[in-house]
Each structure stands twice: as structure tokens, then as C-alpha cells.
Amino acid sequence: MVRDITLGQYYPGKSFLHRLDPRSKIILLIAYLVIIFCTFNYLSLLLVTIFTALVIAISGVPFKTYLKSLKIVITIVIITSILNLFYGTGEPIWQWWIISVTANGINRAIFVTIRIICLILASSCLTFTTSPTDLTDALERLLKPLNKIHFPVHEVSMMMTLALRFVPTLLEETDKIMQAQKARGADMEAGNLFTRIKAMIPILVPLFVSAFRRAYEVATAMECRCYNGGSGRTRMKVIHMTKRDAVGFIGVALIIIGVFICNIMMKKVI
């Protein structure tokens, strides 16, 4: 069934990562993602890999959950690493017809694979340990300076929060409408592409109608509670930076320094 797709990935817990300020998590993640792509030799790559593993261990989220998020991108990883394998520069060490593999190509393939895996795992850490509301809340606070150039930060983040909130509801709704139309003999599996697209109409029309209805209902409910945009709005839960966040910043700073030292001391491999 449609509702089996899990989108809300938040995995409630009380680990060090769960308790970090979501703003720090976002900043640290961005810094870390940049540093992952600044690894040019095996020692720095190892450093980054170990750090990723450490963060996963601290998060207290079962490793199985991380594997699930890797499963989605595994094809991308395989394709890019194969492409990199054949696009290396230098002397070929293996050749067949127009295909040649160089030492540089092999290195590139290994680096790309590990970098993408680390990238996915680190990003998953953020979404697993931060609830969607905290995440959009943090984004809103981080992007606040954009208000100066008249970018509607609060409105955009409210829209994101609402959208996230309604994803499971709409999936459930799709499920129900599909069942109802199937009960009226709708055939969604047979026929060529055109008939299949036509068969989607009885599902899409009610789905849009209900999405609009819900949107109006939510808007009315919000107005009834005197919502009138971001200005002057206070929060029940105010996020705070603590000593814990300092620890997080120091940890990532150490990794950045480590990677730079490796890059200076050692030869570039790719």
C-alpha cells in the first residue's frame, strides 16, 4: 500500500545528536559536506569515514535504518563510480577495445563511492535526529537575515512545515480513493501508456479536490486562531545553543583541521 512509504524519517531519541540545537546541526552538516569533498588522499578519506561512523554510533539510530536510506541511492553510487573508473587520466593499466582503466580512474571510483556514502549517511543523521518541525524552525531562524532583502522567510518555512505535515495524510487519501475507484471497477494495470494515464484521472481529480479542500480548512483554522504571518509571533519552544553545541563545533573543526593537514602533508591521489 501507498502508506508504507516512510517519508517522515524522524527517529525519536535522546542521544547527543538529538539534543544538539537544530541550527548547529544544519551548519555543521554543511561544513562537513564541504570537507568530505575536500579529501584528496587516503588518510583524509579514512579520517572522514571514521568520523561518519562515530557520528552514526552516537546518534543511537539503528544501523538498519541507515542502510535503508543508502538503498535508495545505491544505483547512483554504482553508476557514478563506474563512469569515474573509465574516465581517469594517465597510463592505462588495463585496456579492451575503446575502454581503458587507469590507476587514477580506480582511485576516483573509490573516492566517489566513499564520498557519496558519507554524504548520504551524514545527511540522514540530520533528518533522523531532528523532527521536521525543529528542522524548518531552524531553517527559518538561519535564513532570517534574508528578510532584509524582502524574502518571506517565515512564510516559506511555514509552507514547508505544512507540506511535510500533509504528506502522510495525502498518501492515505490516495490509498482510499484508489480503493474506492477500484471498487467501481477501475482498471489501473491493463492497457497501453495512454489508457493508463487516462485511468489516473478518477484518482487525480478527487485527490486535487481534497487537497484544495484541506488547504482551505487549514487556512480557516489558522485564521480562527489569529494567525497573521510571522511578525510579532512568539514561540512556545525556543531553541537554544548550549555547551553541547560547542562540543559539536569543536569536533567538526578538528576534522576540518585534520583534513587540511593531510592535504598539505601528503600528495594528491586524485
Partner: protein, 288 residues
């Protein structure tokens, strides 16, 4: 022969996950052709899950549904044919309307069944008449109808498929008292005229009491009673124990009976109650 027979019917949601939930547990019963069956039970007792298995919308985890003696899942490829034989009206069916006009929307089901031309037209108009839809409404957009009219149009869309068994999942939910009354009497009339089997799911005992021949009582995924309407309601105390309220008048009569007054068990309507009470009072000479 029974038209529908359920054998050890079981359905489990989210099998082998943390959210595993057996919504229907080992239900055995058989329904005769032309019966009006009521299904009651508190919210979450598995009523909707049970009826969705009757036309193959969900496949039983174990057990069988026999329609006219044949397992509906014998040929999984032909499960669509079952859906024309067992018509299913979901809860809040108005949310499935999609076509430009009410007429076109009602004809979606029968068209899928393969009806064309005059036959299709008759099926649509007959179905509209059963639910009391006026002709001029048929050319309107379904989205311009009132809530009650939308509900009627959606029900007509299922009746128009001319199913042998009609299943309605809480068709009166969210309607005003007048609308409920009207819809119920139309369903009862449909049953009388077409002589088809009807299954009506509801958590309103009043609704069911008035129209059903027999009642299935669901509680915590189990079928705890399946008996004639009167028999079921005469077990009012047991029904209350599983969280169901018997109709007010039935309850009054049950309490009179417990006080030692000789009234019948399982009185379902106020008229019956009045005639019983007046005859007792007459006998005792308190009423002239």
C-alpha cells in the same frame, strides 16, 4: 445456497512489522441471498476491514470468501469481475466523485462493467431514482451539489453497476437526522424492490435496528454475535459490555423487564413499545 460464506477469515495489517495488527480474526459466517444484514461494532473493531475483503479490495491473510460457493481469489487475475458482483460504497463516498457531470460519474462503474447504449442509460437513471436524485441534477457538476446530494450521487454510482450484493460502509455518517432517515429508507426500498442482498455497516444501533434482518456484531476483531435483529437486541447487557449502546427504546424496555414487568425482549421501535405497554396497562385495569 448462501450467497456469501466467510471461512476462517483473518486479516493482519503490517504483517511482520512493529505495527502488526490483526483487524479481523477468524470470522466464520454465511449470508443468504436477499438478506439485509447489519454490521455493528465500535470504532476500530474491524468492520471496514471485514467488508473490504468481501469484494477483493484487500486479500485475506488467511481464510476464504466464498461468493456463490466459489472462492473469490481462485483466479486473482479476474478479481475485477467480483467487484461488479459485490458493490462497495465506502465511508464518505462523496470524495470519489471526479467526472464533469453527475450522469457521467454514475456511469463510470457500469461502463467499466461493459454496459453500453440504452442499457447503460437505464442503469444510470434507475440508480439515480433509487437514491432520489432529480433528473435536472444529473447534468450538473458533482462538485456543485450539496453534501447530501453528493453522497447520493456516489451511492448511485455503485448501485448502477447492478451488483448482486450491495455493501455500504457507514453511509449515514456525517448526515443530518433528516438526511439519515431519508437515505436509510431509500436503501430499505432498494432492498425491497431489487430483492438483492444488502450489508449495512453502522455504529448507530437505531439505524440498523430498523432495517436489518440479521446482525453481525464485531468486537476487537472478532465476530461476537450473528443472529436475528431481535435476538441480538434482547442481549442488551452484553452489547453494553462491549461498548455498544442499544436503541434508547430497547433499553427502556429491557429495564422495565428487569423490574419485573412482562414486556417482550428486544423491542426495537417506539410503536411496538407503546402497544405493549398499553396492553399491559389495560390488562391491569389502569387504562380505560
Amino acid at each position: 445456497m448462501s450467497i456469501l460464506e466467510l471461512k476462517n477469515l483473518t486479516y493482519t495489517y503490517g504483517k511482520k512489522t512493529a505495527f502488526e495488527k490483526t483487524a479481523v480474526d477468524n470470522v466464520n459466517l454465511s449470508i443468504e441471498k436477499g438478506e439485509f444484514i447489519g454490521i455493528i461494532g465500535h470504532t476500530g473493531s474491524g468492520k471496514s476491514t471485514l467488508v473490504q475483503m468481501l469484494n477483493g479490495l484487500i486479500k485475506p491473510t488467511s481464510g476464504q470468501v466464498l461468493l456463490d460457493g466459489a472462492d473469490i481469489w481462485e483466479k486473482p487475475k479476474e478479481i475485477r469481475k467480483i467487484r461488479f458482483k459485490v458493490g462497495m460504497v465506502f465511508q464518505y463516498p462523496e470524495y470519489q466523485l471526479f467526472d464533469e457531470t453527475v450522469y457521467k460519474d454514475i456511469s463510470f462503474g457500469p461502463k467499466n462493467k461493459g454496459l453500453t447504449g440504452a442499457e447503460l442509460d437505464k442503469a444510470v437513471r434507475d440508480a439515480a431514482k433509487f437514491v432520489g436524485m432529480k433528473d435536472e441534477l444529473l447534468n450538473k457538476s458533482p462538485f456543485d451539489l450539496s453534501g447530501g446530494e453528493k453522497r447520493r450521487a456516489a451511492i448511485a454510482g455503485v448501485i448502477a453497476m447492478q451488483p448482486e450484493v450491495l455493501v455500504l460502509d457507514e453511509p449515514t455518517a456525517g448526515l443530518d437526522p433528516m438526511g439519515r432517515e431519508l437515505l436509510l429508507s431509500q436503501i430499505a426500498q432498494y432492498h425491497r424492490e431489487r430483492k438483492n442482498t444488502v450489508l449495512l455497516v453502522s455504529h448507530s444501533m437505531e439505524d440498523i435496528a430498523r432495517v436489518a434482518d440479521r446482525i453481525i456484531v464485531m468486537s476487537n476483531s472478532h465476530c461476537v454475535m450473528f443472529d436475528k435483529t431481535k435476538e441480538v437486541f434482547s442481549r442488551g447487557r452484553e452489547l453494553e459490555k462491549i461498548g455498544l449502546r442499544v436503541p434508547q427504546i430497547t433499553k427502556i424496555m429491557l429495564e422495565l423487564r428487569e423490574k419485573g414487568i412482562d414486556v417482550d425482549e428486544g423491542i426495537l421501535t417506539v410503536d411496538d413499545a407503546v402497544s405493549q405497554i398499553t396492553s399491559i396497562l389495560k390488562r391491569k385495569g389502569r387504562l380505560w
